[in-house]
């Protein structure tokens, strides 16, 4: 037994190292791509930043400062040398270091997307399972129709509806920002207010922050939740007619155990893979939701940067999204191989 676990630990470390090594190249490629795209777009960032009435010589000075008058390869070299030292430049809009901005806005987005992810995972799997177990009955049909509605409706529509109904008309839940006025912010550990509040033992703050999360979180999650429900339902319904399920039932294992253990595990594999894509997509989709609920998140910051041609901010935001995307995919690959020995053993053999 000991040998087996050492062996799997070794495989685990190798896998992580390989993937992290590969992702260096991915990020390098991504940086070149986004750097180029941001610069070939029409419009002069220095002019945009200084305003239409700024004198030409001031604009020229800023252009020189930002190396915008040099060839793009030289610009990239400057940027890369700084970036490798952890300096991603200043934002033209906020006039602060881009890293400071990201440190401020990223946790807000992460908190929102993580919360939406939890709702997606739990809700999607539960609805999908119920649907599969009541396949072709009215329950299945109701869930199916709701799922289609969820898939085709953009998150900002839900956001607006929720804001109007639950935030304004009924006034059940707060709908602006991350915390109510007068509530003290917890000391920053993770940047996720709910988590930090719990760590500091400030349960009042936690409850307030949690309430602020509900409307934007649910609005953001519904699309992916519906998607997960559909996928879980169809994989489960498929697997339900597999011989091994009939065999397990025929040998006297109670249906409850068969459904929640022997059917659920093989059926979760596609759901988990799609979840990764949805999670990363939600980071970007969060833009309009953040805008509607005045949520100080990274997506809103990123889109503003693009509208104003804030070059350094654009590049940094895209790279951060790239890093998150890569991390989520590594985690998902680990989860999938934990669920499916066929994948795990195949990789082990090919090593």
């Amino acid at each position: 037994m000991r040998l087996v676990s050492l062996d799997s630990l070794y495989r685990f470390v190798t896998f992580i190292t390989q993937r992290l090594f590969q992702s260096i190249f991915v990020l390098f490629g991504l940086s070149i791509l986004i750097f180029t795209i941001a610069r070939v777009l029409p419009g002069d960032p220095a002019r945009t930043a200084l305003g239409a009435r700024a004198p030409q010589e001031v604009v020229d000075r800023l252009r020189a400062e930002m190396h915008l008058d040099e060839p793009i390869t030289v610009q990239y070299t400057f940027w890369l040398t700084d970036a490798l030292r952890g300096d991603f430049g200043d934002s033209l809009v906020t006039r602060r270091a881009v890293t400071t901005d990201i440190a401020e806005f990223l946790p807000a987005s992460l908190e929102l997307v993580l919360f939406a992810g939890i709702i997606t995972a739990v809700g999607g799997v539960v609805l999908g399972t119920i649907s599969a177990q009541h396949k072709d009955t009215w329950i299945d049909n109701v869930i199916r129709i709701l799922s289609y509605a969820g898939v085709v409706t953009p998150a900002f529509i839900f956001a607006i509806i929720f804001l109007l109904i639950f935030g304004l008309a009924l006034d059940w839940l707060p709908s602006i920002g991350r915390l109510s006025e007068g509530i003290p912010k917890p000391p920053v550990v993770t940047g996720l207010i709910t988590v930090d509040a719990l760590l500091a033992g400030q349960f009042g703050t936690f409850w307030d922050a949690f309430q602020h999360l509900i409307l934007p979180g649910v609005a953001l999650s519904l699309g992916s939740l519906a998607q997960e429900a559909r996928i879980t339902r169809s994989t489960m319904a498929d697997n339900l007619s597999k011989d091994y399920i009939a065999a397990e039932r025929a040998l006297g294992i109670p249906d409850r155990v068969v459904m929640t253990r022997f059917l659920l595990k093989p059926s979760l594999i596609p759901t988990v893979s799609i979840f990764a894509l949805d999670f990363a997509a939600n980071l970007a989709n969060a833009f309009l939701v953040e805008l509607i609920f005045n949520w100080p998140g990274l997506s809103r910051y990123g889109v503003n940067a693009m509208l104003r041609k804030d070059l350094n901010a654009i590049t940094a935001v895209i790279l951060i999204l790239g890093v998150i995307f890569i991390l989520v995919n590594i985690v998902v690959d680990l989860v999938v191989s934990a669920l499916d020995p066929r994948i795990r053993l195949r990789t082990a053999r090919s090593d």
Partner: protein, 343 residues
């Protein structure tokens, strides 16, 4: 033997499948029984409803689409179709257990052999449910040793894809026997394996059921296996039981034209080459032929066969029964044949 009450008694069972575009009438009122300790064979070509019958007995047919419009399945006098969930769980495993046709699809690919086998043992009876983890593991090891699998410890931690086809089949047999069932259903065991491995597996199975004095239903389309291992044989065609007889009698004197065709289709080393088999194929279950379902392929078909479903007639004695108008009273058969001339 016929004085005993059967352990399993199926009466006039029909199973239909509601599918897009209609209803598949797969089982069409079959009768079937097994006496305690008896080894019963069930033969018929692929798609004739053998596996459906067995899944119906254990109530593991997916419903919907399957529906059971009529019939009774009595296991030790109790109607399986009306059993409560509790009773059903008692029957499955301990009462009846089943070895599925294809060991590759009958094992859950994402659980280890140990996880699956131990779950089966744990849920086999309320007493087992109270056993400790290590006691269950001990039972699982025993179950694997019993089917001649070496190194059970390693196997318990293995996943199905790490095993060869023969090993998987042994695991399935071990799993089915681990609950110590009164009646074992073996659905074409070894068909998915190559001939030598299949032979080993069948010998093993035969030895185990002999030792343990189990009642057995052996489903196969290999007549040689039936001849060696069973006491009595049912022949099934397109959802109908067409003939039943003690094994020796059936092979000596097959009565139903379909059974005769099956026997003739077996290639023999001494015979003149490969036979042609029975022309045609199993009819559609959506619109099965009216009357006898075999009449479209039967060399002796008479007009009456197209009109009426043949009842069961006795050949020689009660033990040998056949559903074919050729075995009606001789004068009636004469009349049927003349009718044919008249047309």
């Amino acid at each position: 033997m016929s004085a005993q009450t059967p352990i399993l008694d199926i009466k006039n069972l029909s199973v239909h499948f509601r599918v897009y575009g209609g209803v598949l009438k797969v089982l069409d009122g079959i009768d079937f029984h097994v006496f305690p300790g008896e080894k019963v064979g069930l033969v018929g070509e692929t798609g004739c409803g053998k596996t459906t019958t067995m899944k119906a007995i254990l109530r593991v047919l997916p419903t919907p689409p399957a529906v059971i419009p009529n019939g009774e399945i009595l296991f030790k006098g109790q109607n399986v179709l009306k059993m409560s969930e509790r009773k059903l769980l008692d029957m499955r495993g301990q009462g009846i257990s089943m070895i599925f046709q294809d060991p590759t699809s009958a094992l859950n690919p994402v659980f280890t052999i140990g996880q699956q086998l131990e779950a089966v043992i744990r849920h086999a009876s309320p007493q087992n449910h109270r056993l400790s983890r290590s006691a269950i593991e001990q039972r699982a090891r025993l179950a694997l040793r019993e089917v001649a699998l070496a190194d059970p410890d390693r196997l318990l931690n293995s996943y199905p894809i790490q095993l060869s086809g023969g090993m998987r089949q042994r695991v399935c047999i071990g799993m089915a026997l681990s609950t110590d069932p009164e009646l074992l259903i073996a659905d074409e065991p070894g068909t998915a394996l190559d001939v030598t491995i299949q032979d080993q597996v069948l010998r093993l199975l035969q030895r185990l059921v002999d030792e343990k004095q189990k009642s057995v239903i052996l489903i196969t389309h290999t007549l040689g296996i039936v001849r060696q291992t069973t006491d009595r044989v049912y022949v099934m065609y397109a959802g109908n039981m067409v003939e039943v007889a003690p094994t020796k009698r059936l092979f000596a004197k097959p009565a139903h034209p379909y059974t005769q065709g099956l026997m003739a289709a077996v290639p023999r080393l001494s015979g003149g080459g490969i036979s042609e088999g029975i022309p045609g194929r199993i009819p559609s279950y959506m619109n099965p032929p009216v009357g006898c379902r075999f009449h479209t392929r039967c060399p002796y078909a008479m007009p009456v066969c197209e009109r009426l479903k043949p009842p069961v007639f006795t050949v020689d004695d009660e033990a040998h029964q056949v559903a074919c108008f050729l075995y009606d009273a001789p004068d009636k058969v004469q009349a049927y044949k003349q009718e044919q001339v008249a047309v």
